[in-house]
């Protein structure tokens, strides 16, 4: 009942056998043990599972792994520099206390990076609107918004 699947994850070629009913997030978490991508809901609202699919932010819980065949996936584990230095967006989240329990954080950061790439000079309102696919129960969003604005500026410079 399995089918072969080849894709790239964080720059590495991956070749596995999966059941078609495997979600992309299950492939990442369970098969590849990339547990930084989280699952917070079963109806597609929380966005904790957000990864990049060929550069665009998508919810890996709302995709079958087989749909990503031939694609390039980037997860939170693939964002920092190989040296371990944080990506400017990650660094901004730390600097501005944009995370508390950390559970929504990977999805937030992945969406924020895509958001920052999508438009220069984001306004606060655009950031708040752009985060509507990500739920956070800890921060009240204020410091996340601050972090995204700062991270976006840092990514441009």
């Amino acid at each position: 009942m399995t089918t072969p699947l080849a894709l790239k994850v964080n720059g590495n070629a991956v070749s596995v056998q999966v059941e078609p009913r495997t979600l992309l997030v299950q492939l990442l978490r369970e098969t590849l043990r990339l547990t930084g991508t989280h699952v917070g809901c079963d109806t597609g609202q929380c966005g904790a599972c957000t990864v990049h699919l060929d550069g665009r932010a998508v919810k890996s819980c709302t995709m079958l792994a087989v749909q990503a065949a031939g694609c390039e996936i980037t997860t939170i584990e693939g964002v920092a520099a190989p040296s371990g230095d944080l990506h400017p967006m990650q660094a901004a989240f730390k600097e501005h206390h944009g995370l508390q329990c950390g559970f929504c954080t990977p999805g937030m950061v992945m969406n924020a990076i895509d958001l920052a790439r999508s438009k220069a000079d984001l306004s606060e309102a655009e950031v708040r609107g752009g985060l509507d696919g990500n739920l956070c129960r800890c921060t009240g969003y204020q410091n996340i918004v601050k972090a995204v604005l700062a991270g976006a500026a840092a990514m441009r410079s």
């Binding site: 989280h38 989240f93 509507d132 739920l135 009240g140 969003y141």
Partner: protein
């Protein structure tokens, strides 16, 4: 002296792992050979189980075991409640059995009926569909207001009138007498809307049995692993406590919902021992909605008696509190001890009487959720105070000022003794920041745009750091309320701190490190804080009730006192001075009045390499532990001011300004404190505007069973908060701290609804229920006595 680390916004030590996906949450834990559990849950609110046929499920591919309630009989006890409430009739509360898997009856939608264990989660789920349960569906009651009505279906046959207890606090006769003297009485009826916590990490557990030494390890999403272990071993499973290690690794938010001992991890642990293989269970969000303990669910009538000057004479409160179908771990204490005791608020109201009737309903259990009792109390007090001010045409700030407590300590008529506070200070600063004088101009400008604008206050108080154990015990607590802390100085002078508090977002690894670093004159990088593991930490009561810094932090300070005291003895020996002459500051032991000194790290090394050491008088090593049992609650307080605009055409409310000025006593890390306030405010705003748990009154089905229907605040639902703090240090703990985790959720709901009702008051609208959804506000506008038609 170097700059104090206390009061610095040190960036968090824990962030790197969270930001790089390197955290370890419970579902990230994978054990070789692990099985997966799935719970079959009741589709009915109330039904008798005539029969369960598990034969087909047991024979399904991959299935290792299927358990139902009868399999647990005599082996797994009911889940205990940790707080005994005694009613006004002198009788103990009713404690019906809370079976981890339903026995004979199901009592709410989502009640656990069977646990299926299989090689894969899909197999467990597939098999669950093969279980045939023959239900005799019975009528259900989901509304606490209806639970005592004649003929209401009983949740438990042995609990008449669905009543767990009727409990009272305060002097009823004196309160009634004061009402007879009142110049004005304001009456309000409230529903404190039932909420579903929704930490973004769903509950999960991984249970392992170790054959070699007949022991267990349980990884679980818990705010208090030691309490979890104690309750599970001593009360439910009858296992020796030392044979069970409970680890709460990184936990993705709790807000109260992960305090409690739940059925799932209990059955999982037991089953791991039966099957002798590890088992994992992770809740799907739908299960979180059905089976996590919910919050609030009060129906209240309150009356405030005032003299003609607006001075409060008495407050009388009658509350019916929904407990859900079973008593959750601390359910009984939330609408009593944590609620009625706060009804004095910030005011000198001399007479208060509160009566609470707690009832069972055919719904998920209700227990502590961020604020736990105190948001409900604040809502009662601050809504009625504001309403009284409007009715008596007194400015709402002014009526508060006339009634503020200004002398401390202050003994309230509802048991608590406030040690210190400055309520005028937080009110006037909040008014300044919120630009209250400029409001009228803003209101007129909004009116020109077709918007109704209102400003509302909430001058809240809370009791945190639940304490002291002996008093709590006298009030019915079945646990101690101290905290443990251990400071382990390593031979190189680096430090590991073990705390019984648990961090699931609060940043203990940073804040506690600051406390230790400051005291020992070290850098925070040289200190690691360990929490959430009964195998590494001696004991602990965990994190809830904004207690971590006030109680857990204090325990660490006491342990530090011991480290420094022993260090002085060692230093005295090394420096050949009298112990009484040794001082310790900035990481150095010095002989007072001389330049003789020895650094802390050298003392540490000496303690572990005791070649030149007073072995006859002193044990080697430098590892100290302390328990701290507070002498009183702490009393964080503050003032929130909310300003809203209401779209007359749609009824939609937008928060345009929100100011919070809080007094948390001394603050260790302002950045973290501010973050806690933001999060609390957002949950409070969620309660006021968005969140409502709705059960169908007929069928008992949970209508808001997913994020598609239960509205959680998103980034564009909340404004940029203006947050600042004032400081009256707590008088009775060593750090002068009070706690900050719940303040936002406690103060915000009343501020929001006071702002909305302020906007609607001129139209003749007196009250708006929570959540003030667009539809609710629109309906109020439709029927408002003095409403004119809006425009789009």
């Amino acid at each position: 002296m170097s700059e104090s680390l206390l009061g610095q916004s040190v960036r968090r030590k824990e962030d790197y792992r969270f930001l790089t996906g390197s955290g370890t949450y419970t579902d990230d834990v994978t054990v070789p050979g692990q099985l997966y559990a799935f719970f079959l849950r009741s589709p009915h609110a109330h039904a008798r189980i005539r029969a369960i046929d598990t034969a087909a499920a047991k024979a399904a591919p991959g299935v290792v075991a299927v358990y139902v309630g009868t399999d647990l009989q005599g082996k797994v006890n009911g889940l205990p409640c940790g707080w005994l409430i005694t009613g006004i009739d002198g009788q103990p509360m009713k404690e019906p059995v809370h079976p981890p898997l339903a026995q004979g009856k199901v009592r709410h939608v989502g009640d656990q009926v069977a646990m299926i264990v299989a090689e894969s989660l899909n197999q467990a789920k597939d098999a669950s569909e093969l279980i045939e349960v023959d239900y005799e569906v019975l009528p259900a009651c989901v509304d606490p207001a209806q639970a005592r009505a004649p003929g209401a279906p009983l949740v438990h046959d042995d609990v008449p009138d669905n009543t767990c207890y009727v409990w009272g606090l305060g002097d009823k006769a004196a309160t009634d007498a004061a009402f007879a003297q009142a110049a004005h009485v304001t009456t309000l009826e409230y529903i404190n809307n039932r909420l579903i916590p929704n930490a973004i990490e769903p509950r999960a557990a991984v249970a392992q049995y170790h054959r070699g030494d007949d022991s267990y390890t349980l990884h679980v999403t818990s705010q208090n692993p030691h309490v979890e272990r104690l309750l599970m071993t001593a009360f439910v499973l009858g296992l020796p406590e030392h044979k069970v290690r409970v680890i709460a690794p990184d936990v993705g938010g709790g807000f109260g919902s992960k305090i409690f001992l739940y059925a799932e991890e209990t059955v999982l642990t037991w089953a791991a021992g039966q099957i002798k293989r590890p088992i994992k269970w992770t809740a799907e969000r739908s299960e979180s909605f059905l089976a996590d303990a919910h919050g609030r669910d009060h129906v209240t009538k309150a009356e405030l008696a005032l003299d003609k000057h607006g001075k409060f004479l008495a407050l009388r409160v009658h509350t019916t509190a929904g407990l859900g179908a079973y008593l959750s771990t601390f359910a009984s204490s939330v609408p009593t001890i944590l609620y009625a005791t706060l009804l004095a608020g910030q005011y000198t109201t001399p007479n208060i009487y509160c009566e609470v009737t707690s009832v069972f309903t055919h719904t998920a259990p209700v227990d502590a959720y961020r604020g736990a009792g105190r948001p409900e109390a604040t809502y009662v007090v601050e809504r009625i105070v504001e309403t009284a001010a409007r009715e008596m045409k007194i400015d709402p700030a002014e009526i508060r000022r006339r009634n503020f407590i200004t002398q401390f300590p202050y003994q309230t008529p509802v048991a608590l003794c406030y040690d210190i506070g400055n309520y005028e200070g937080t009110l006037s600063e909040a008014m300044r920041v919120a630009d209250v004088p400029g409001f009228e101009v803003r209101r007129k400008e909004a009116e020109a745009r077709g918007k109704l604008r209102g400003l509302g206050y909430s001058a809240y108080i809370e009791a945190c750091g639940l304490a002291p154990s002996n008093i709590a015990g006298a009030l019915g607590a079945r646990a101690g309320l101290y905290e443990a802390g251990e400071v382990r100085v390593h031979p190189t002078g680096k430090v590991t701190v073990f705390t019984g508090s648990h961090s699931h977002g609060q940043g203990h690894e940073t804040t506690f490190a600051q406390v230790v670093a400051q005291r020992l004159g070290m850098s925070v990088e040289d200190i690691d804080v360990v929490h959430g593991d009964t195998g590494r930490i001696a004991f602990g009561m965990g994190t809830y009730g904004s207690r971590s810094i006030a109680v857990g932090g204090a325990a660490i300070v006491r342990a530090l006192d011991k480290v420094v005291a022993k260090g002085k003895k060692i230093a005295a020996h090394l420096l050949e001075a009298a112990e009484g002459d040794i001082e310790f500051e900035n990481g150095e032991f010095t002989v007072a009045g001389t330049d003789k000194k020895v650094p802390f790290a050298q003392v540490a090394l000496t303690a572990y390499v005791p070649h030149n050491y007073p072995l006859d008088k002193l044990e080697p090593g430098l590892n100290e532990m302390a328990f701290y049992d507070p002498t009183n609650f702490t009393f964080p307080a503050g003032c929130h001011i909310c300003e809203v605009e209401i779209d007359r055409a749609t009824g939609e409310t937008r928060i345009v300004n929100f100011t919070a000025v809080d007094d948390f006593g001394k603050i260790i890390n302002p950045m973290i404190v501010e973050g806690q306030v933001h999060g609390g405010l957002t949950q409070g705003i969620g309660q006021a505007l968005l969140e409502a748990c709705v059960y169908d009154k007929e069928s008992g089905q949970l209508i808001t069973g997913s994020m598609m229907d239960y509205a959680l605040p998103r980034a564009d639902d909340v404004p940029n908060f203006k947050v600042s703090t004032q400081e009256t240090p707590c008088t009775h703990n060593p750090l002068g701290v009070k706690g900050c985790g719940e303040a936002g959720a406690i103060g915000a709901p009343a501020a929001v609804i006071n702002a909305i009702t302020a906007a609607l008051w001129p139209l003749g609208v007196r009250d708006i229920p929570m959540p003030a959804t667009p539809q609710t506000v629109w309906r109020a506008l439709q029927t408002a006595p003095k409403a004119r038609s809006g425009r789009a």
